[in-house]
């Protein structure tokens, strides 16, 4: 075989061709621009406190600079883009998933602690105690608000305030108010007119010269909006309404009040092996998990067996020399492969519909039965196996495998053909097993995992495979428990890793 060492042995010379020189400079500038933009990402992620992502792009930018900067690594330049793609979108997500599995990352623990703290500090409340009565005064065409404090003491200084004239705009917006000694001249508007103006008043924000904001708190009052929490030097927050102290619980990632009650939102923290403990010990999670685990293996195993049986018979028939029209059959049998899966699976979904689907019409005509394919667990599972069998019944590779020894009559099959063929087929079977083990699209599009397992604390269905179960825990309405999903995903990673190593050994890949 011819190999080259990417001209790294040749001395670097200044090219005589002008175009060549320009091209070199352009490619250098491109690499530099890429490195700079990656470094910008690093700094931006670092400033946001997302060190995992900062590290990812730092590694990416640095390796880019090294590979394209050193002449000894000329060969690696060719490999780098593809490896970078795999690194960022396959290997990093994998490691990140494993990392998430040791945290309580979920929809309630999503933002960083700083962001959660900032959210609490942004919260406000209306100080009902220091409210102002208000009246509307008309001066010619214009209307002003006049506010008078209810008690003697106010939290904002002045006890009488008068506003700028109201503007006739749709949006409420902000309006300045000034301290005043007495009510303005002009006619006081009655309750009916106040009610007519209510919507506009509700959107209005009055701002005092000190910067305190007031909002409408009832048909007769405006009340100041005050920040609800202040930060204490030790990192805890004080609720200004009732003086409760909220202390950050860095073990669970929540602010807790005096009675230990948790306030959402929280932030993600490391929880060690908690997620794994939940999968293996908590009966509400373990029960469904084990059921789904077993079903996943049963499904993948049966599908492979079914596929192998049907495919083997078909392949033997199509290998039969004396049979005519083999090409036509072959073309027709390829059809299930050619139709995109997301369409053929949905076609099956329609055909299995209980009241209108064609399959039930035929079954009713023949046997007078009308199975409920989607709500009865056993029927739903049967349906899945039927669909998969039909979708995959003709593994193309079987043709070639059985062509080797001419696939004889059925009597010879088990004695000669099968033992001969099973060895080269094993890697294929393992690959098919792994594929069906993770056949997410089929489950999601056909049943969505339903019917549900009763008494499960996570979204779990009787037809769910481990992958679709993980997906539902992570992305479906109830909870979005990313940490738990990542823990289950990590367990599946280990399984897949075992399968792929086995496959690599069996197929004896030579590099």
């Amino acid at each position: 075989m011819f190999t080259t060492n990417a001209s790294r042995g040749l001395p670097r010379h200044r090219s005589r061709s002008l175009a060549e020189r320009y091209r070199r400079w352009i490619s250098r500038a491109l690499v530099a621009a890429l490195v700079v933009s990656l470094l910008w990402l690093v700094v931006a992620f670092h400033l946001r406190g997302q060190w995992m992502f900062a590290l990812l792009f730092l590694v990416l930018g640095a390796s880019l600079a090294v590979v394209f900067g050193k002449r000894e690594l000329m060969s690696h330049r060719y490999v780098f883009p593809a490896l970078a793609g795999m690194g960022v979108f396959v290997i990093f997500p994998l490691l990140y998933t494993v990392g998430i599995s040791f945290s309580n990352y979920s929809s309630s623990n999503l933002l960083s602690e700083e962001r959660v703290r900032a959210q609490f500090l942004e919260r406000t409340y209306q100080a009902e105690g220091s409210a102002f009565d208000f009246r509307l005064y008309r001066e010619g065409e214009r209307v002003r608000l006049y506010l008078e404090a209810q008690g003697e003491e106010t939290s904002i200084g002045a006890s009488r305030l008068i506003s700028e004239p109201l503007v006739d705009s749709e949006s409420g917006g902000s309006l300045a108010v000034h301290p005043a000694q007495s009510p303005p001249a002009g006619e006081v508007l009655g309750m009916r007119e106040v009610i007519a103006e209510r919507e506009r008043l509700q959107r209005l924000v009055l701002t005092t010269p000190e910067g305190v904001e007031l909002r409408m708190a009832g048909l007769r009052h405006f009340a100041p909006i005050l920040p609800r929490y202040t930060e204490n030097p030790d990192g805890s927050l004080t609720d200004l309404r009732d003086g409760t102290r909220l202390t950050p619980d860095r073990e669970h990632g929540f602010f807790v009040d005096g009675e230990g009650e948790r306030l959402t939102p929280g932030w993600p923290v490391a929880v060690g092996l908690d997620n794994y403990a939940r999968v293996l010990l908590d009966p509400d999670v373990r029960g469904p998990f084990l059921a789904i685990f077993v079903w996943t293996f049963v499904f993948a195993g049966l599908t492979v067996l079914f596929t192998l049986a049907v495919g083997f018979v078909l392949a033997s028939l199509l290998q039969w020399e004396q049979l005519r029209g083999k090409a036509v059959y072959r073309t027709l049998l390829i059809l299930p492969y050619a139709v995109p899966a997301f369409i053929s699976i949905l076609i099956f979904k329609g055909m299995f519909n209980q009241s209108y689907g064609e399959i039930n019409l035929i079954l009713e005509g023949l046997f007078g039965i009308r199975p409920n394919w989607f709500t009865d667990p056993a029927m739903a599972r049967t349906m899945l196996l039927l669909c998969m069998g039909l979708l995959q019944s003709v593994p193309r590779d079987l043709y070639e495998a059985s062509a080797v020894d001419g696939g004889g009559p059925l009597t010879n099959m088990f004695r000669i053909t099968l033992p001969l063929i099973i060895k080269p087929l094993t890697p294929l079977l393992i690959a098919a097993f792994a594929f069906n083990f993770n056949n997410f699209v089929l489950i999601t599009l056909l049943t969505g995992g339903s019917p549900d397992i009763l008494g499960a604390s996570t979204p779990a269905g009787t037809t769910d495979l481990l992958v679709s179960y993980t997906y539902r825990i992570a992305f479906q309405d109830a909870g979005q428990d990313f940490g738990l999903a990542a823990a289950i995903a990590t367990l599946i990673f280990l399984l897949v890793m075992g399968l792929s190593l086995l496959n690599l050994r069996l197929s004896r890949v030579e590099v």
């Binding site: 994998l94 028939l317 519909n353 993980t470 590099v511």
Partner: protein
């Protein structure tokens, strides 16, 4: 075979034909059924394979044209099927071109060059390719969510993120192209390099023109895989006008409002081109893959 001629060979042939025909019928029935349903009136109307009450309503809706019923009521198209198809084709085309670029250059290095860590990289790629991307969706979602806060056109709900995410799946293509490159004799490039061509020039002007067939095969494979990609798109895309066909199509058969007829028309309309491309390229794909696989 010829020596042990069974007595009942005709009966056996007949049985074989019957069995094959049965399977073909089983496979072809759903497809014919869908075509038939797309021309029937109403959703979930039953009847023969040849529709008795012929109607173009579903087809009109699938093409995005409002349909006026006999009683004067006008039906609006439920979903923008053509837009979805266009989204799918757009994403698939861009990502296949990028995948082809990445895979070809690195396959060249793997096939022709010696460098440190080559064997490890090749094996590692095979292992990592086995991990289903569904499982790292949480991480990918987090990645693009954060990235989108800095670079909006790469965030959640953008086609950029979907294209970028597909760049992870290059290992298979690298192996395919590598096998093909290794089956081409290297003496042509050697000659070119003796004449003063650089490595890149030998690759660009000698090897690439020779490998157009395998590049076509890989492009089509990547294109079809991208069109059919479901899990990533279902997480990364949110708005109805951003969806790809694979994610959008299932909305026809939602839990409580199944539009069987509309779905059938949309499925035939959008699935037919993809199916035809696959069937036409079938021979090349198998040929190309085995050509690449022999040496793999």
């Amino acid at each position: 075979m010829a020596m042990v001629q069974p007595r009942s060979i005709r009966a056996r042939k007949l049985a074989a034909h019957l069995a094959l025909l049965g399977v073909v019928a089983l496979v072809a029935f759903p497809l014919l059924l869908v075509i038939s349903i797309s021309f029937r009136e109403g959703n979930f109307a039953t009847g023969n394979l040849i529709p008795e009450r012929f109607s173009l309503e579903h087809w009109s809706l699938a093409l995005g044209i409002p349909w006026e019923r006999a009683d004067g009521s006008v039906v609006q198209p439920p979903f923008p099927v053509l837009l979805w198809l266009w989204n799918s084709v757009k994403v698939a085309a861009v990502s296949s071109v990028l995948i082809l670029l990445l895979a070809t250059t690195s396959a060249y290095a793997f096939a022709r060059m010696r460098f440190r860590g080559k064997a490890g990289l090749l094996k590692g790629m095979l292992i990592f390719q086995m991990f289903p991307p569904v499982l790292s969706l949480v991480a990918l979602y987090a990645l693009f969510d954060r990235l989108g806060q800095l670079v909006p056109w790469l965030g959640i709900n953008s086609h950029g993120s979907l294209i970028l995410a597909s760049l992870g799946a290059v290992a298979l293509h690298i192996w395919t192209i590598k096998g093909y490159f290794e089956s081409i004799d290297g003496s042509l490039e050697e000659a070119a390099m003796i004449d003063g061509a650089s490595t890149w020039q030998a690759f660009r002007h000698i090897l690439l023109p020779l490998s157009v067939p395998i590049l076509m095969v890989v492009f089509i494979l990547a294109f079809i895989m991208s069109i059919m990609e479901y899990p990533m798109a279902s997480v990364l895309l949110l708005d109805e006008d951003k969806l790809t066909l694979a994610v959008g199509a299932q909305q026809y058969l939602a839990e409580h409002n199944q539009r069987w007829g509309d779905f059938a028309a949309a499925a035939v309309l959008s699935g037919l081109p993809i199916t035809l491309v696959f069937l036409l390229c079938q021979r090349w794909i198998v040929g190309g893959l085995t050509a690449g696989g022999v040496k793999g």
